[in-house]
Amino acid sequence: MSFRSIGRSIANPLSAFALLCASILAASALQLVAFSAHAAEELEIEIKIKDHKFDPAAIKLQAGQRAKLIVKNLDPTPEEFESNDIGFEKIIAGNSEATFRVKPLEPGTYIFFGEFHMDTALGHILVE
């Protein structure tokens, strides 16, 4: 292998990409250390879906609190319970329920919605 080819292989995009990946991995490992100590108790919250509306549509949580949402779909039609802010999306068939786990959140407002009825199925979680 000549010096030139070694130089080229170092400069190639793959190595640059690998370096980038390595630094992201390192940053993520730091996150692991920061959060592994955190283990809070899980709060259970029940949300009903009736006539394509959430009840309750507004939920309050403490910052850093883990929660378990039990979403009961009382309508005969299926609904997709989704939140881009929290990061879940799951279909709940008519007259059935599903469980969603909410990770510890920073203070703020987190929107959730029913994707199949975006005009009425809207709600949010307020974290303080």
């Binding site: 793959l14 990409f17 690998a18 980038l20 990946c21 992201i24 991995l25 940053a27 993520s28 996150q31 692991l32 959060f35 592994s36 005969p76 039609t77 299926p78 609904e79 997709e80 881009n84 802010d85 990061g87 879940f88 799951k90 279909i91 709940i92 068939a93 008519g94 059935s96 599903a98 469980t99 969603f100 786990r101 990770k103 510890p104 994707e115 199949f116 009825h117 975006m118 005009d119």
Partner: protein, 276 residues
Amino acid sequence: MLAALVIIFREVLEAGLIIGVVLAASRGVPGRNSAVTLGILAGIVGSAIVALFATRITDAFDGRGQELFVAGILFFAVVMLAWHDVWMAEHAREMTRELRQLSSDVVAGKQSLFALAAAVAIAVMREGSEVVLFMTGIIMQGKDTAGELLFGSAIGLLLGAVVSLALYLGLAAIPLKRMFSVTGALVTLLAAGLAASAGPQLSNAGFIEVLDTKIWDASWLLSQDSSIGRVLHVLIGYMDRPTGLQIIAYAVTACTVFALAYWRGSPKPAQSSLSA
């Protein structure tokens, strides 16, 4: 009617973009059209089956069934796309030279076609099952007439197909020499994005408790809910608020597929010194 249009458009677009990329990435492979058609048909049948068993899937494994199911098919799709990508990297040079003498690789070609069809089938099944569930819901509500429903769905389907076709034609317009490196990279990032979206599924199922908080928030710059954000999310796995787990899954998948394709597809030393 509008709801049907929006939902169908969105789901068709999501599956269509993946199909467009995969189609462009396999230009010149004999038999790819029938493989893709077969994949789409299998995906449609799969959607109906998944929709039929939706409740049972959700309730399985102590209410974690849907997450596990989605994570499972995502991983399968990642493996299929990676396989196809590596195979294309190995054979791209032959195809760009338009030798098309793949006789010795007929078996390998067939395997790659299986991967292609499987990836398409999964994309269609994932989005299609949502469409089926949504449509059965609308029909059960009985608010819209069948005519309205059909009209809305037809327009949604058409719009989704047109945008996907535009992407395919755009990719196909790239000169053949460069196209396979572009589509190869695109398929790799597509696979990485799918791997990353499996992360929250496992974390929501409670299997992974670490690294499940967001590392950064770029929603002010480009929201994942915006139309550009959505398209980029499907194509290259753009995430506005990725978790540590998602970043790791993305990086590991992208690095692995890139490395495999680079290693398997790199020219022989003798040839590379000639071209240098």
